[in-house]
């Protein structure tokens, strides 16, 4: 009988589903679940979950991850330079989400829930879109630098406000 609360991290599992090559997914997911079940009995749910996340992160390696088309699922994306830049911006910003994700494995100080990741992803994705808009609309280096740096400062201020509440707005995390 399986307790419904005794399940591994859904975020880690979704991450695994996203990156793993489809032909390996079934067997490796089964292995992950079996190890999680074993660790839950041997230790406790919390430690088993931590080990599960660690295993998922260690599975993220070139031989097991899908090709770039699977990861982005953007078959409509052409190799035009502007699209390449947009793709790099998007991937670059989203890869920042790995920092708290990995930190959660090693420390209790970082404890993000699904909503935190969704909000952070929205902020970072929005910033990437705005940056691409700036690069497409403005062609001079000066204007691009000014607008892009303003946007980054705005992102940092919103982030800080949501995290610790420096202005005391309704968004404040404090």
């Amino acid at each position: 009988m399986q307790d419904s609360s005794n399940k591994p991290s859904p975020i880690a599992l979704s991450f695994f589903h996203w990156f793993c090559r489809s032909e390996y997914r079934e067997e490796i997911e089964g292995d992950l679940m079996e190890k999680f079940e074993f660790n839950s009995k041997k230790y406790n749910h919390r430690k088993a979950n931590r080990l599960f996340i660690k295993e998922v992160v260690l599975l993220f390696r070139p031989s097991l991850i899908g090709n770039i088309h699977q990861l982005t699922n953007t078959h409509i994306m052409t190799s035009k330079a502007s699209n390449k830049r947009f793709y790099l911006l998007f991937v670059g910003f989203f890869s920042l989400l790995f920092i708290p994700f990995i930190a959660m494995i090693f420390t209790q100080e970082v404890n993000w829930n699904l909503l935190d990741f969704i909000v952070a992803a929205t902020l970072l994705g929005g910033t990437a879109i705005c940056l691409e808009f700036i690069f497409r609309k403005w062609k001079t280096l000066g204007s691009r630098l000014l607008l892009a740096s303003s946007l980054i400062i705005l992102l940092l201020l919103v982030w800080a406000e949501m995290a610790v509440g420096i202005f005391g707005t309704p968004l404040a995390g404090s």
Binding site: Q2, E27, I28, D31, M33, L59, S63, L64
Partner: protein
């Protein structure tokens, strides 16, 4: 190009697959490595090596049964091929010849 030698971890995984005789899949391989060698191995490392050995033709695989603990997902069972056996024999012979070539030397007592 014909594979002539094995990496250290590749050799361990190939040996464990041979030991497990048809019951080898990544979780049982990790358990054997931990039990016999007192060495930790991640699922990622073992899966990568298994795929590489299969690509080299040293292992064969097929889907096995599913269990409740696996959440209804089938396991992939591996077995060693004749080519895999040959390369293990060859590796063993090479090691033995190297050990046999070590000259006897006296130990200085202080």
């Amino acid at each position: 190009m014909l594979q002539k030698s094995l990496g250290e971890f590749e050799e361990i995984v190939l040996l464990v697959v041979a030991i497990l005789e048809g019951e080898a899949y990544s979780v049982s391989i990790i358990a054997q490595i931990e039990e016999r060698l007192h060495r930790e191995a991640s699922l990622g490392a073992v899966q990568t090596v298994l795929k590489r050995l299969e690509d080299k033709g040293l292992l064969l695989s097929e889907f096995g049964a599913t269990t409740k603990a696996r959440g209804g997902k089938r396991k992939r069972l591996y077995e060693i091929t004749a080519k895999g056996q040959d390369i293990l024999d060859q590796t063993r012979q090479q090691r033995n010849s190297l050990y046999e070539a070590i000259p006897n030397f006296s130990v200085k007592l202080i």
